[in-house]
């Protein structure tokens, strides 16, 4: 097929990777966006969700925020933010055109998996362990830092991983509304009927998504050194 030939040629031409607006430039931009938005969402969502989980309140928030996140189309939210007079399409430093609008949308879409997982993780720490901690005379904050958080960590981290992949995907869609990032190669290619170019952008985005997912999964496995509950003898 001629299209695959075009795609291969696009990807193997060095000039398309380097320079201003080249693939590497856009890749860096999108990674920067993804990481910043994820950090923003972590700072905003994680303490709140962990605290609510510790108190055992606000379950409605944890259960409903995921539903809201699913029902609101990323594309629509991005479109609204870009068209509104604030934050609009102004450039935001290294984040490029419409960078601020994109950052806000990305951070908002990273919140649901982070909040839901962190809340559920803390809530699901078995009651008998909480009782034991209280019986040993631990205060509320001691219980949180020494019992609940270590046991909740795997699930909390899997929420962060989910958010990371989701933010990457969302950052791609930003290009559909004139935003920064690799999605621009795709939308440009389609707008100018250079489908080979569009396909090349899609291949790069998909590959990076899978690499991010695998890297995040690896990091989670490495960082979780807490023995599994209920398996006192086995050490898998």
């Amino acid at each position: 097929m001629r299209l695959f030939g075009d795609t291969w040629r696009y990807l193997t031409t060095g000039g398309h990777w380097t320079g201003d607006g080249g693939l590497l430039d856009l890749l860096g931009q999108q990674l920067l966006l993804t990481v910043t938005a994820l950090l923003l969402a972590l700072v905003l969502g994680l303490p709140l969700a962990l605290w609510l989980g510790h108190l055992g309140r606000g379950g409605w928030l944890a259960t409903n925020i995921s539903g809201i996140g699913r029902a609101v189309p990323v594309f629509a939210l991005l479109a609204l933010l870009v068209t509104a007079s604030w934050p609009g399409v102004r450039t935001a430093g290294p984040y490029g055109r419409a960078g601020l609008a994109t950052l806000i949308a990305l951070a908002l879409f990273a919140l649901p998996p982070i909040i839901t997982n962190a809340y559920v993780a803390v809530r699901e720490v078995p009651a008998h362990l909480q009782d034991a901690a209280a019986g040993m005379g631990m205060t509320g904050s001691q219980r949180f830092w020494r019992v609940e958080l270590p046991l909740a960590l795997p699930l909390v981290l899997s929420g962060v991983r989910l958010a990371l992949v989701q933010v990457w995907a969302t950052a791609t869609i930003a290009a559909l509304v004139a935003g920064p990032g690799l999605g621009r190669v795709i939308t440009d290619g389609f707008a100018r009927t250079q489908y080979g170019e569009g396909l090349a952008g899609a291949v790069v985005v998909a590959l990076v998504a899978i690499v991010l997912e695998l890297a995040a999964a690896g990091l989670v496995t490495l960082s979780v050194r807490v023995p599994r509950l209920g398996s006192t003898t086995s050490s898998v």
């Binding site: 699913r70 029902a71 594309f75 629509a76 795709i186 290619g189 389609f190 997912e213």
Partner: protein
Amino acid sequence: MTLLAPHTVRAASEPSCYSRLVNHWVCPSYWHDRGGELRSALVQHLEITVVAVALGMVVAIPLALLARRLGWLRQGVLGLTTALYTVPSLALFPLLVPFTGLTMTTVVIGLAVYALTILVRAVVDGLDAVPPDVRDAADGLGYGPVRRLARIELPLAVPVILAGLRVATVSTVALTTVGSLVAYGGLGNLIADGVRTDFRAELLSAAVLCVVLAVVLDIVLVLAGRAVTGWRRA
């Protein structure tokens, strides 16, 4: 009264609330004048969503049955569907274009793949949750494997499958908007046009309709689930 007169005169000559000069977010005369456009976009959106989720379901059930029957396939199927889910939708549609062209089929297949990843897991989990003693009782009553699946296991798995179906449907409604890349995005086409031409009334109306459609379909599924699982209330 003297104050009213000039006011009404100006109102008559004032441009409509969706003209370029005014460009209000909420504009009833836009709904009135362009209602047909909104309606046909909504119909296309609904069509794409329903066909994609139905296609996903049709493929998910045999895949889930295979995964349950063959242990080695289970991890493979669940792993592959998770990998597909990580591919952003804006990248998945172009990857399908060489095979299906710039058609509605491209969007439907892409969305069906995403729905599939949720649905396979839901069907596997639902069938896993059928209590073994119920299965034994069915065997004891002389049910064959096919009849046991159709009459006992699938009906008992309905609540879990339905939960997956709701998640799949609501996310498919949202994802359909991205189909505007290949010009088949239902309400997404209006959103894209709204951004391109800085048309606020069009943009907000389409966005709100998207969310409303998701909520309505979710409620329909909940009600349908209640009707199907009447035994749960008994």
